[in-house]
Amino acid sequence: MSDIKIGISLYSFSTEFIHEKLDFEGILKKAHDMGYQGVEIVAAQMVPEYPYPSDEWLAECKALLAKYELEPVCWSAYIDMGIRSDRDLTEEEIIQFTVNDLIYAKKAGFPMVRTQHAISPKIFRQMIPFCKELGVKLTIEMHHPHHPEVPVWKEYFEIMKGEGKGWLGFVPDFSIFQTMPHKLYLDQAVSFGCRPEKLAEIVELHRNHADYSVVEKGDFNDIEKHTAEEMFGKFSAPAKMEQWKDMIDCAFYMHGKFYYLDNDDHDPCIPFEEIIAEVKRLGYKGYIASEYEGHHFDETIDSEEQLRHFVALMNKNLNA
């Protein structure tokens, strides 16, 4: 058996939540019934009165997690830099949002806050004393289009490995390894006006690492060109498996991002076989969250069925 546990980001049930098929408690019950233990909550999504939740709600959240025997793993926060129309957030405002999220996480029983890259190295470092005081860890998600070679991440890793060791970490999201467009993306592209045979041509060009200029000069309509440009940028796998060894000691948690699975064995978009083999080999101990994200593209897909495929795929690789 592996030391890696499969958890769930409740965000995986976005479709059911926003279409009001399941409420917060309904999602917790579903997660429990599916056999999950560790959970992540995206506060800006599911917390009423966000960004200023009441103590009553936070206590109720903690009680509901206990009722459904779910372990609070990660409180997910945002650095909403662009809230204001006239300017970006100031340092003072970023600190305020971060301090608040650490407090809310503590009150709801979560040992970790996941924030975003825009926090800045300076503020990330400044949070260390407060994290220690509260006993809550602070992590930054590394999500596509970011990857280990983006300059600011060099600074973040220095802080995590240095004075923030044990308190500051990162959450790699497997989108940094995505190599091919998924089915929901392609179906949506057709619904927006891509001709299926032309889209297939674009996918082949992408698979063969062609340059976008080939599409730009070719016989494609505007939506096909737009789709190709997005596809070539988005499914470009900027991270490499060799980079795990230099950063795994800072990974407190991971996002098992996926968009669509039609079976229990393989995802053509994200190389789970390679990822899981490598993080196992390097001795990662902790949760990998199930993070279904197909809801951005198609609200008719059943999230639970997707999650069942994901758990089977993960177990196969964890036990390999």
Partner: protein, 138 residues
């Protein structure tokens, strides 16, 4: 394209209701929700406009009701402390003497909105949600 499926929740399924004050019908209202997987600060709405039965609704006749408050459309860009929870409908009230005729109407909502955390390399993602639905007035 990310976020596009969420446009399905923009115009709520509820009927259009006439609004009557002391026996006088002064307008009508319908409900909309924020088209995303998470809520938004109202200040992230860069443009919001409506068409009913193909005709533009003048912005000056519209009130945006949320969190127990009324907002003019022109005030939204300033509302950086006002959060629109993803499951909470906002009520769009349109002043119109006599209200709207009972029966089916087409409602179009156009919203341009900024995703405030997306500035990975300096540019915020700005989305256009442009949805037309048929709703019944009662």
């Amino acid at each position: 394209m990310d976020f596009q499926a969420y446009n399905k929740i923009l115009i709520c399924k509820d009927d259009i209701e006439n609004v009557t004050v002391g026996g006088v019908t002064i307008g009508y209202q319908f409900k909309i929700k924020y088209p995303s997987y998470r809520g938004a600060f109202l200040s992230c709405i860069e443009a919001l406009s409506f068409k009913v039965d193909g005709r533009d609704v003048p912005a000056g006749l519209v009130t945006f009701r949320l969190n127990g408050k009324d907002f003019l459309l022109s005030e939204l860009p300033e509302c950086f402390k006002e959060y629109w929870f993803v499951r909470t409908p906002a009520v769009i009230f349109v002043r119109q003497d006599g209200g709207i005729a009972p029966g089916e109407h087409t409602v179009n909502v156009y919203m341009r909105h900024r995703v405030p955390y997306t500035g990975y390399f300096g540019q915020y993602l700005t989305l256009d949600s442009d949805v037309t639905e048929t709703r019944k007035a009662v």
